[in-house]
Each structure stands twice: as structure tokens, then as C-alpha cells.
Symmetry: D2
Subunit: 365 residues, 4 copies
């Protein structure tokens, strides 16, 4: 496979450029019989959609997804599900200012060197535009996991620039444009973002994701450990620079007696492991975090080089999220859903008849 497919049994193959006629994907491997319609995908697409508040980019995309195959009389048929979104906001913009130069922090230079040419309109394939299809495909996985297995996946903002959000009230996440789980922090975030926009700058963010209701046993050591595949999936999101499972980098300073999650018949006594032991889910909540870098699309000028190798200055005009990490929240959920769905199918294939006889240890005391 050539880089644009994710998953071995539940496989998403994606296509599309920012300013081409359409973006889309093929979801292959969805079990038959799942009730599915476009409406099931639209909710998450709307959560990711730009232009929903002044804190995200003002690109106006209808983002209406069409299902072109794989669903018959309202149910999946086991054949590939094709999803399509037409790019409606292809204003014939003037790209003369960026077509011959490499925006710093972007993929302009690497795409040009790798492929010998690039679609410079809005970043082309390297634009975060493609993440809409991750969200759409992920919604199918989320629906299956929720309806067939009782698994829920939720993400939220846990840090934006210097502002840490330590309280986690899931009911608040959808009540503000930051996916912030702490209502008391929303005003602070708004002020920070307003100042940032005025400054013309951008900032990074940290997103946490939690999956609950996980069966014991997902993950295929030694290379396709569940945590390794989660790391792959989350790091493949645009602008991601770090991934943690459970205690993550904090475990460097932990002692063994603190980190190891002791077990009792009533449940695990802690969850530093983030729900994964030896690369296999333990039944505890799966906990992961992703670091997103600040966008490099700034109206503050930056030094760069053009196609001829000469020094130039780059200024990005127009609409851009000052914090791309915010809108990554549904993308993070989607990617975790794709990982879990794939591993659920892989686990079923080989461990159908396993009767360990060993009682489950509850997720936590």
C-alpha cells in the first residue's frame, strides 16, 4: 500500500486536494448489517467544520458528505463504502504569491523536492482539508463500536498555549468552540485567542482522548501493539508532534511502585498504563494525548527560499486557524476509532474460540 490507506481489516483509503474538485475515501472492511446514512457522518463533520466560530478559519465549506456505495436499503452490505465531499469553496484565488516559494513550516519544500512538482493551491494534498475524510470514516467506526460493542470515544482540549485545563467535565466539551471540558476556562481561552489573532500569531494545543468500554485483548504484539498503532494513527494527523499513552512522558520520573497499576478483584487501582499492557488492551479506559504545533500560516512575515533557491519573504494572507489543534479534537477521536475498529476485527479473526476462564478485572475500583 502506498501511503494513503490506513488499517489492515478496516481500511480507509483517502484522496483529494484542498482545491481540487472533491475529496473522498473508500472504507473497506466494514461489517455488513450496520445501519448507516449520511446523517450519521454529518454530526462529526460539522464538529470539525471551519467557520463555526471566530476562533477557527473562516473557510466556508458545506462539507456535505455523499455515500456512493456499500449501503443498500439503509444497511452496510460488506462491500466498500465510498464517501465523497465536493469542494465548494474553490474561489479562484491568486496563488502567484506562494506558487514559487516555500512557506516555512509547511510541506511546500518537501513535496516539491519529493515529487518534483506540487499542487500549490491551498497546500494541495498536504492541507488539513483531507482530515474531513478521516472524520467521516471515523464516524462509521465510532458508530459500529458504540452500537455493537458499547465503546465510546471522546476527546477534549487539555492545553492551549500556556493555558492548562485540568478539570474534565465531558458535558462541557460541546458547549464551547474550544472543546474545553472546563467551563471556567472558556473566557480565558477566548481572551487569549483574541489577542493572538490581533498579534497575527498562532499557538499549539494538546488534545486528550479517552476510549471507554474496551474489551480486554485488542492489540497484536509485537509490532502491531495497540499503543504502537495508536501512536501511528495520531501522529499521522496534520501538525501532530507528540503522542503519549497513559502517563506518557511523566513516566520518566516515576518509580516502578508508583507506575505499575496494581490489581484487585474489585478493579485496577490506577491507570498509568493508559489501558494497555504489553501492547494489548486491559479493559481499562484507553488514554492518549497528542501535541499539535502552532500553524505556520501567519501574516507575520517569515524568511524562506523560492524555487530558484533565492531568499524571499513569506506572508500568509486570508483565513487561518490561529490554533489548528482545537479543531483536531474530532479528528483525534476519529483516528482512535479507526485503530480500535481495525484491532477489533483483527482480534476476532484469530481469537474467536478463546475461553480463558479467567474472570475480568474491572476497569477501576
Amino acid at each position: 500500500m502506498s501511503g494513503n490507506s490506513y488499517g489492515k481489516l478496516f481500511t480507509v483509503t483517502s484522496f483529494g486536494e484542498s482545491h481540487g474538485p472533491a475529496i473522498g475515501c473508500i472504507v473497506d472492511g466494514c461489517p455488513p448489517g450496520l445501519a448507516l446514512s449520511e446523517a450519521d457522518l454529518q454530526d462529526d463533520l460539522d464538529r470539525r467544520k471551519p467557520g463555526t466560530s471566530r476562533h477557527t478559519t473562516q473557510r466556508r465549506e458545506a462539507d456535505r458528505v455523499e455515500i456512493l456505495s456499500g449501503v443498500f436499503e439503509g444497511r452496510t452490505t460488506g462491500t466498500p463504502i465510498a464517501l465523497l465531499i465536493h469542494n465548494t469553496d474553490q474561489r479562484s484565488k491568486d496563488y502567484s504569491k506562494i506558487m514559487d516559494r516555500f512557506r516555512p513550516g509547511h510541506a511546500d519544500y518537501t513535496y516539491t523536492k519529493k515529487y518534483g512538482l506540487r499542487d500549490y493551491r491551498g497546500g494541495g494534498r498536504s492541507s488539513a482539508r483531507e482530515t474531513a475524510m478521516r472524520v467521516a470514516a471515523g464516524s462509521i467506526a465510532k458508530k459500529y463500536l458504540r452500537e455493537q460493542c458499547g465503546i465510546t470515544i471522546r476527546a477534549c482540549l487539555s492545553q492551549l498555549g500556556p493555558i492548562r485545563i485540568d478539570k474534565r467535565d465531558w458535558d462541557q466539551v460541546e458547549q464551547n468552540p474550544f472543546f474545553c471540558p472546563d467551563a471556567d476556562k472558556v473566557a480565558e481561552l477566548e481572551n487569549y485567542m483574541d489577542a493572538l489573532r490581533k498579534e497575527g500569531n498562532s499557538v499549539g494545543a494538546r488534545i486528550d482522548v479517552v476510549a471507554s468500554g474496551i474489551p480486554v485483548g485488542l492489540g497484536e504484539p509485537i509490532f502491531d501493539r495497540l499503543d504502537a498503532d495508536i501512536a501511528h494513527a495520531l501522529m499521522s494527523i496534520n501538525a501532530a508532534k507528540g503522542v503519549e499513552i497513559g502517563a506518557g512522558f511523566d513516566c520518566v520520573a516515576q518509580k516502578g511502585t508508583e507506575h505499575r497499576d496494581e490489581m484487585t478483584p474489585e478493579g485496577f487501582l490506577s491507570n498509568h498504563a493508559g489501558g494497555i499492557l504489553g501492547g494489548i488492551s486491559s479493559g481499562q479506559d484507553i488514554l492518549a494525548s497528542v501535541a499539535f504545533k502552532p500553524t505556520s500560516s501567519l501574516r507575520l512575515p517569515g524568511r524562506s527560499v523560492n524555487l530558484a533557491g533565492e531568499p524571499v519573504e513569506v506572508v500568509t494572507e486570508g483565513r487561518h486557524d490561529p490554533c489548528v489543534g482545537i479543531r483536531a479534537t474530532p479528528i483525534v477521536e476519529a483516528m482512535l476509532a479507526l485503530v480500535l475498529m481495525d484491532h477489533l476485527l483483527r482480534h476476532r479473526a484469530q481469537n474467536l474460540d478463546v475461553q480463558s476462564g479467567t474472570p475480568d478485572i474491572p476497569a477501576s475500583v
Copy 2:
């Protein structure tokens, strides 16, 4: 593929349990014509080998690797290279104390639930014993990358428990048992480790890895981005809990003007991206870090559950690294080598004829 293979074109398939007759792997996809002998693999295996100092486990393994195929008259033939290490240290130990109970923080519980049974001798497949094969296979990749492309890969300790190592003198790394790049910190590390061993506890570590001499263009967006595959590979190492590329989690608090690596004809002005833009190598050094958790094998008793679901106490006796992260250094190098080798071959396949005409931007000013 079923979990024990890594890589699409340079593929390592691994087997073996801690206390079975042997461990081994098959390396498929190595280009023909590379000079290769067992001696080429032994150096890195010796660097990983336990028992080299009092700070690592005292398991005595000869770890003599045999090449069973794929090399003829001293050169690789393009056919699969099989590597084998016999387990020489299979003392008929008494496992009656752990065979019926789940060591907290280990994979005992998840393996038993997933597979219905487990090889309880020394952790079986979930033991870090298998990482010897990663190192051996990685040495082949390192040799090819070094000799054919001028790529070097080096890792070192950057934090052990509370002790951060900020100075990086590569010449020091092999001069002490901690892979510590700062000679001035070695005494502090020794004292800390001695106290830890006395206490019967363990601690985490952070390993940094740097690859230099990288060509522009490695990485296959959007899912097989170079950083995503690095995250996969590094997170698949035993005890890994976090992976960072470049600035990693620090980018959360960075502004865009700080993070974006400006470019001049003389070179990049910084490397917060860690050498990867849009999932494709930029020619700068690739920078990554891994967090390793403290081992859970402690002689300090921990609460757990047995096969019948009853509460039990677990005490681990015998030899165990108080900081498994230290010996992970050559494993981190090996995994990064496998990623780069695989991507080098993938890049060659599709971009053979690319003549971008655009001059390279030097790695740094």
C-alpha cells in the same frame, strides 16, 4: 500481516519467547550486494546485552547471532536473511510462584485473556528478550544506510528519573554504561541507580535519537508519513509510553513565529520540526524522543489477582534492570533505522525519475 512483521519493503518478521529454544527473525527486502557478516550485527547486540554492568540485569546471554540465509560469499543476495540466536540461559527456574498470577504492570493478564493461555516463563513473548532481534535486524539497515547513503543514527539517554542530561557529547555515549552523553552526569547516575537498587525500586528514562545525512523526500503521506511511522516503530518497543518528534510536547506552548523553522539559502534557521515537514523528511536531522516506563518487576510486593480471580501478592525475585530505558538505547536506534530503510526503498520505487531542479536547502546554517 499478523503483528510480528515490521516494514513494507524492508520487512522484519520476528519470533521467539524469552525461555524457548531460540529467538530469531527474517529480514526480507534487503537490497542485494551489501557486504554482511555476523560480526556486523554483533556490535549492536553487545551494546544491548544484559550483564555488562551492575546497572543492568545480570541475565547472562551469549547472544551470538547466526545468519542462516540470504548471504552468499559475504554479500547479501536479495533473498530473505534469517537471523537466529539460541537462548543459552534457560535455567530450569521455578515458575510456580508466577504461573498462576498476573504481575502488575506486565502483560500477564492481557496475554492470558487474549490468547486463553500464556507462556509464563520469563514473560514469554512479552519479554524484552525479543528486542535483541530488533537490534540485529536494525544493524543491517544501519549498515546499508551508512554505507550507501551516508546516514548515521545515534541515540543517548536524555533523562533518567529526575536527572536531566542537557549536554550532548556523542563521544561520551559509549564511555559509560548509561549511554549518557554528558561525562559530568555519570557519577550522579551511578549514585541514583545504586540507591534505587538498594530500595528495590525502578525508574523511567527518556532516550533521544538523531539521524543525520537524511535525503529530502522520505515519507509517504498521508497515513505513512515519516513521523507517523517513526511513532509506530518507537512506540512498539517494550515499555515505551510516549514519542516526540522535534519540539514534541513543547510545541503546545510555542507560538507560530517561534516554531516555524525559517529557511535561507544557507540553511534552515532552526529545527523544531525535527527534520520532517508534512510527513516528509526535509534533509535536516531527524530528532525523536521516547519515554520508557519504570519496569514493574520489583522485589517490593504489589497487589494483584490470580487466575481464579482471587487477590494475591506478587514479588519479583532475581535479576532485573532497575531502569529498562537505559538498554533501550540501541533498540531505539535500530527501530529508527528500520523506518528509514523502509522509507528509503519506498521512496526509490516511486520517485526515481524526479528532477525537481530546486536546490537543496542545507540542514542548518
Copy 3:
């Protein structure tokens, strides 16, 4: 991967049902820089299109293909190429006669049992409608192989029912609706087909394919031998029941002295091997043949079973090719092109630097 993708480096992922809104595919892994437009794909699509003569089905499909991504300013960019064909001939037909019963010789029974439900409109996913996308994707491969490597791929009818076509004049193939390379046989074929249609019956066909200009070295033993992958690709075409390479089943009765293709500096003295030795191309023409069964869609009644397991009679009304093998000709070419393209890229990845020094043996004396 989940069954709807073909190829490891040049990967085609397909979707779509016979009577859904559209069919399409994603071609991932096409090298950048190839000049490509919809017109390049349309020729082969038109060759496959039904309704071009009275000897093929009268379904009227415009089969206009759209390129949705991966091409910028007339050249491939190295990113996935999405192809889409809207199904224009979705007459709201009455399916009540077949929706509850299994047409003998069709996939109705197996799809229903496998997936629990099926899209019964025109065969759904099991219809040969999907082969249009194979042809479109194959055209990209054919163009690359022809322009970059000088490889040509041509197929023709070699047997239809009892009529064998032994003469092979490539110039004739496109001059008649049977892809028949012998002008003298066309009248006989027409008469046979007319009688068959009158009878309400169908018949099988044999298609031969020849690829010329092949470099030595394509194929990845031991499992991904070139001949094994060709067999896979050709047998995956609807209605295929047999595949031969070179002498094929005739080699059963051959002696070794007859079969082995002796070599001289001036060239190979014969080509019983069909251009492949040990799973690797020898530089001779690649020769393969495919047997296609007669279609089972007949207006002559056949015994079958309905969803309730009761005996029923099935009669197929409407337009159907009495010999589906005829129109398979461009599909066979397309599948062979996909195999060769994939192996060309795989070969490049690993054997870039090989300098054997050994002179090539010409394809034939």
C-alpha cells in the same frame, strides 16, 4: 487490506455497485510527472463499453470518467488519483423477480450467505460493472509502462466456444467486435453468435495476452513471483476459471528437452516459459491466457432455490452478453498492466544499484 485493493506499490482500491449512484477507484502510488488526462483513460473504457455491437449487451452507459485528484496542470503529482464514473443507466427496473431467489451460476447465493444481505439490483457489487474501473486504472499503468519503459500489452480472442483462432494478426484485433486477430474467422464468429443469441444460450471464451518490451528482473520470489501475481490478477476478473503462463497445461505432456527454452547469444530459441523463469521476467514476451466461463444470465429457465429454501425457476430477461469473454479483452490487458506496474516499482525499490555485468539475452532469435 480488505479485498478491494490490488497491488502493493501501485495500488488500486475499487468501489461501486452495478446500480448505485457511481463506481470509482483510487490509484495510489503512481509516480509523479506522468502526463495524464481523462482522454487517456477513455479509449480503453470505450473498448470495453457495452452496446458497441449487437454481440455485446445493450446496456447504454456513457462511461465518462472523471479524474478527481492527483493530477495538477496535466501531470500526476504523486498523490492518489481518484477516478469516478456515474452510473447513468439506472433505470428503475423491476427486481421483484430476482430479489428473493438465487440465479444459478451467479454470486447471489454466496453474497447472501456471506454478508446476510445483498444489493440485488443488477448483481450489485458482483456485477462485471466494476471492471470498468479496472480498465480505467489499468490505462494509467499502460501509459506509464509504454511511455517510460517501452512496454506494450495487447490481448485478443483465441477461442470462442468451439472456434479456435490460431492466426494472430494484431492489426485485425480492433477491426471487429470480437477482438479477433484473424479476419478470416470473423464471419464464422458472427454466425455462431447469432445462432447462440437466437437459442438464448451463452458460451465461454479464451483470451490471450502478450506483453512485450519487458525488462529482465520483474517478480519477487518466492510467493510474489511474477507468474503468481499474474494468475491472481487474471483470475480475479469476473467469470475467469483458468489461467495459463506460456505453454500452460500443454506442458503436462511436454518432455523437458522440448519445454526448456534454450538460449544462445543471439536470443532464446523458444518461449514455452511465457517470459518468466523462477518467477522473474526473462525479457522475453510475457504470454498468458485466461478462460472465461459462459454467462449464467440466460432466458432459458434454470432450477434454483429462493431465500426460503424452496425450489424455484429462474429466467433472466433483458440485455446480456452471450459471451462475456469477448469484452474481457481490455480487462485482461488492464490487469496485466497493473501487475507489471506494481512489479516495476517493487523491483526499482530494491535493485536500484544492481550492475550484473552480464549481457542481456535477446527476447528471441
Copy 4:
């Protein structure tokens, strides 16, 4: 994956040269809990073993297989199973006669051109020696399929040179060195083979294979159809030149009314399809055939070319099967077992909950 792996969920990765220290493979994806020991593999290995009669090569290989991992206390653990056979018959033969020249009909030329060098000892990787590992791995699949699913797989000789064997008495197959299912033909075969050996020539063979007890539903259209994967697997065997499913090439001359297998509640009325409809198993017996070419290793001189491109004569001395197809019988069974096992697991993954409600149609009336 790089050519030496077969299967997506039940994956066999193979290594080893004819005259290297050992051959072996890793079987990844075997479900846990299967009772397995070396004795289970030895039976089929002995059936394939050379030197069992004067009609097969006299190479004396003990072919004692060792299980190095993946089995604990007599049961598979779900971790990779490594199998190893040491090459005991590595007589230090004189290869000076063939090392510089290409045996016609062999892979000498293509390996040399592809890889730039080759292990010329006994054919190296291209030798049929590697098929021993296919047989060993296939035995694991056969055991699982038989014990867990009631599937049996049996192959036999159906043609040797001009001698066709039409009667099929399975009880006779193991009673003679030809795997001939007709006792009355054995004398004729013996005489033919004796004359052939005297002549110094070789001949082709056709092997038929039948799998019974197949569940409905195996196969993953459209590219990983069961028949396509069978074609791949069987054509990947050394010396295979043709594969047929069911009626195979005979279907070219069949009418639709004859070919389509009508169904009644009491069962299918025929099996021209060979048990596969639309790429999915129908529950009928799976029927396939393979054509094997005559070996090119002859003591009768053949014209060829040497490394310098000069004309030479090649004579093969020593032990060689005059009909390699005979011993292919257990290999054909093994490869079909690998295909079915892989598809059984793939089917389970995605179709676990399917309740079609439709009654099964019995395999035949």
C-alpha cells in the same frame, strides 16, 4: 511485504537456500489453543521427501522439522511459530561446471540479472528445496481446518505426460509413489518413468486438489476472491504453469446451460464452478488443478550462455526428479490449506454476526 510472505492473517514467511545451513519459516496468526507438535508436521514432510522411491530424486534429506517458538505445553499460544529444518545433505559438491553458466529453463539467468549475483549451489533460493517449508506450514493449517472446521484437503496425480488418470479412488493415492488414485494405472506409470529415466529426459504432470467440508462465505471480492487467491498460491509453486478452478479451460467450449450449476433444496446439481461463485465459496467441494512443467535439469545437453555472454553447453549431472510434478502433490495441498486458513480468518473478522436466515444448499444431490 517483500515477496517471501504469504497470507494476510495467517502469514507464512519463508527463508533459506538449497545448500545453506537451514531452511525455515515463521507462521504468524495461528489461533491459540491448537494442539501441535513436530510429529504433526512430519507426516506431510515425509510424503514430499525425496528419495522415497526410484521415481523421485535421490537427495537424502532427513527433513526433521523443529518448532522453535509459539507452542507451549503442546498448544499454540497465538504467537509466531518458527519452524526450522537443517540442511543435512550439503555435500561439498563441485559447482564449477554451473557457476558461470545459466541452465536453460532455470532461474539462473533471471536471478543473476535481477540481483547482480546468485547462490549457484543447487539453485539456491530458486530450488524447490523451499517447498518443504510450505508443506510444514501447510500442515498447521490443515490440522486447524480439519479439527476445528471439518475441512479436508486431498490432492492426487491426474495426468503424467500422455497418461491421463480419470478414475479417482482416494484410498489408492498413498499406496503408490505417484500419488495416483487409480491402482490400475500404476504399472503404466512405472514403465513410462523407467523409460524416461533411461532416456535422460523429463515430463510434466497435472495435479488435482479437492477441499471438502467448506463453509459458505470464504473469499473477499473483488480482488481477493477465493479463486484469485488460490490461483496465486498454486501458481507460486515451483514449475507451475497453469491453474484451473472447476471446469477450468473446458468452460471455453461450454454453453451456459451446461456450465451453470443449477440448485435444488436437495443440493447443487453439478459443480462446474469448482465450489466458488463470485469469488466466494458456495459450500460445494473446491476443485482446482495445476500444471507442472517438466524439469529442465537433464543430462541431455542443452544450449545456453555463460556469464560472459558466450555460447555454452549445459549438462545436469546427479540426482533429479524426472517428473517434479509428482512430489508437488503435498505442496499443492499445503498451499490450498494456507489459502483457506487465511480466508477463514478474514471471513471471521468481518462477518461474525451475520445471520442470513437462508438455509444452506447442500454441496450436491
